[in-house]
Symmetry: C2
Subunit: 482 residues, 2 copies
Amino acid sequence: MAMPSNEICIIGAGVAGLKAAQALVDSTKFSSKDLVILEAQDYAGGRLLTSDVKESKLGLKYDLGAAWFHDLLSNQTLADLIAANDPDIFDVGEDGYFDNKDRKVYNQDGPVNMIELKLNRVVEEMEKFIEIYFHDSLDVKDVSLSEIIEEYKRQYDVFLTPIQKKLSGQILRYLELWYGITWDKISGKYAIMDHHGRDLYNKRGYKTLINYLCKSIPPQQIHLNTQVKKINRNNQLNDYNIALETANGEVFLCNYLVVTVPQSVLQLDPKHPYGLEWNPPLPDRITDALSSIHFGALGKVVFEFATPWWDLNEDRFLILASENDTVPSKQITESPPPFTFPAYVLNYASIHKSASASSLVILTQSPLTEYLEAHPEKAWSYYEPMLRRLCAHGQSVADPINTITSKWTQNPFIRGSYAALHVDDDPSDLIIQLLAQFPGTGLYNCPIRFAGEHTISDGAGCVHGAYQSGIDAANWIIDNKV
Amino acid sequence: MAMPSNEICIIGAGVAGLKAAQALVDSTKFSSKDLVILEAQDYAGGRLLTSDVKESKLGLKYDLGAAWFHDLLSNQTLADLIAANDPDIFDVGEDGYFDNKDRKVYNQDGPVNMIELKLNRVVEEMEKFIEIYFHDSLDVKDVSLSEIIEEYKRQYDVFLTPIQKKLSGQILRYLELWYGITWDKISGKYAIMDHHGRDLYNKRGYKTLINYLCKSIPPQQIHLNTQVKKINRNNQLNDYNIALETANGEVFLCNYLVVTVPQSVLQLDPKHPYGLEWNPPLPDRITDALSSIHFGALGKVVFEFATPWWDLNEDRFLILASENDTVPSKQITESPPPFTFPAYVLNYASIHKSASASSLVILTQSPLTEYLEAHPEKAWSYYEPMLRRLCAHGQSVADPINTITSKWTQNPFIRGSYAALHVDDDPSDLIIQLLAQFPGTGLYNCPIRFAGEHTISDGAGCVHGAYQSGIDAANWIIDNKV
């Protein structure tokens, strides 16, 4: 039997892999016949996963993975969707929602008046302090976000009211819901982000981006349920220099390879059932770089209710954690007390401008994500005492009629959310090694490209970063193809 | 008659000159006998001017020049005042007020709901757009703040609601009240500031800083009403290599000179009655640099009222200009219509936490500053229709019982406020030439140092910048003194 062979193989049908495929097909050098996408799971999209409307009791769809367009001033994904000018794909006015109203903050005692307490400016100052502290010289020792917050409060004690001192650090823990890890783990050095503009919530769901990308690729070129297990990068047996072997023993041959598996999969031991076996093994400079960065676990819990009982004027709520002695990152084996972790809550009724979209979408951080994804039935009892603080005047909290949780930490092909920087991690070494643009880095001069959110600086961890990394991988192949 | 001679002369008893003197006196190499300060005006303080309580009908004092400690994370002036630990000088809890509550915005139609209209995020995005636009490459052509705002609105039209489009640019005109010039003049390239922390309003008045600095210097070493007119920097007649001649014909000899006159004075033609005659003339590299930067005209108008009629919960109001066809920077010869310029209003009653501190302090920009400083009697009729928008519920506007205006543009020794960057100006050339740290720059290797807000990057235009420049000038002399 002839082994299937293609000029290009792409491992992974997430946004990076699909965009790489689209860019290759759109070039003059390749057509869709020249490539094949091998996807381990039974769907295209990877960490873009819009839930099926049948899972909802309200007829809604939820993005259980990425849901936003970030950094609107430099978001090529959104620019391309708008340029496509196809209302079946994306209509920015209809499908986009700027959820950048000042977030409404609550703690155990009720609403926190950010303006009267002048907390907005204190939090900005704290962020600037962190930026200056670490960028003052190149060799400042990294410490955790929680430690650098303590340092700020120590140095500027005289400028802070007691309530500002109590709440400002807890407010900055909203970053846990960006990175998917807790503040005792978050690298202080890389905690503060430089956003390029606002964020747009994608009401239609990111499924639409997947559909748009898949238009360029004939369905038969995407092999689902096809987990690549072995990569022979010095294939000698025939005209193709790369041979891929799947978990089922199928072999695919190619001359160019784009590897878009999540960083968490690259980080697995090759012998692990979900790891990749490289032959010859990856050079130490890549495996070393893989050990200098972590993988977060941002998750989502969706509660659907018969009718809303919270303030419909606010689109986002931040519920602060209480001060407590728990080590936040410690693995959870039973339901923690409420207010152990800060919660970031999205009000779907406001986003959809309809009280019938009566659901709250909550972002979760590791280790809560692992616990709730494994025990979704525990979600409501943990969150209920926190969410009841959101009750609108005269309303009282009701039990949900439906709960949906993400499953990313349960999914052996994903294993969490995206790259995250722990204390002392290095944000750029892995990118340098995987891109291999310079002699002595990664798989330099080798027709294997890496793509995905973990392979790019601008848009790291974001859909538009993964998308751009797919374009970059495709361009490399187009430029190098003789 | 023996000519007065000192090791060091300092021209100007503003914060830069006084701090230089204090630092020199505090060093082991010099004592107060070694220096003399020559001040053209009849008071020490320069552009720090706390009004006399007798000018007020409410028993209040106002800083008609600088009033804030800016950039608290890196403000050495404030740190030193706190370290002095003398409640007669400054008590941060008693005398400092964080006026960094989110500003309350009004326009012709009344209050602007910044949160509901999501304008905070749009203005942040616009600022980030401007930053990215100009820092994308080194040779992006400068345009005015008003033009770059138009460019943003053009590029991101699809992301803006009509009301956001109408108001966001007007809101960004608050920068006119930082720079003291209008948005058609402000350099877009350098418009966006990177603040290092919050601002602290100095309730006691900056007079206290002047008093603190003057403690180190015997009064007889400060010569008031002594305008230096000529600087002979190659004096051959005696043991001192620098000879200064005053407007009265007095001569002062010295070996080291610190020149802290405002940039506006340095920019005058030597023949101008308030200009400096250098012999030999300043090198072209300095005079060229002086022509590549401008001088702003931030002013203040204080209205005192019998009782307050505005919202006492807000500490700052920004009243937006209306869209109009006036060229904002055009010289004013008669009262402009209200809402021609944005106004920034400080609520003294809130800052002093007392309704009896019933005054509003308004910042003005050029060309309004020049007009109102020349015609203070016109101030109320211009501002009344704007200020009436601030009326608290059930209150109506009352005429002021007293009006105080700054006089900076009328003062021939000051001539405005501080350095300001017009389109195509260069923010660093003048600093490089005046500091002359490198061969081929300014008065390299010459015992003449410049100091003041126009001679420093960190804290440019601010009290703490001028203060630091005085320290730097003193340290240069200390290090170079054999």
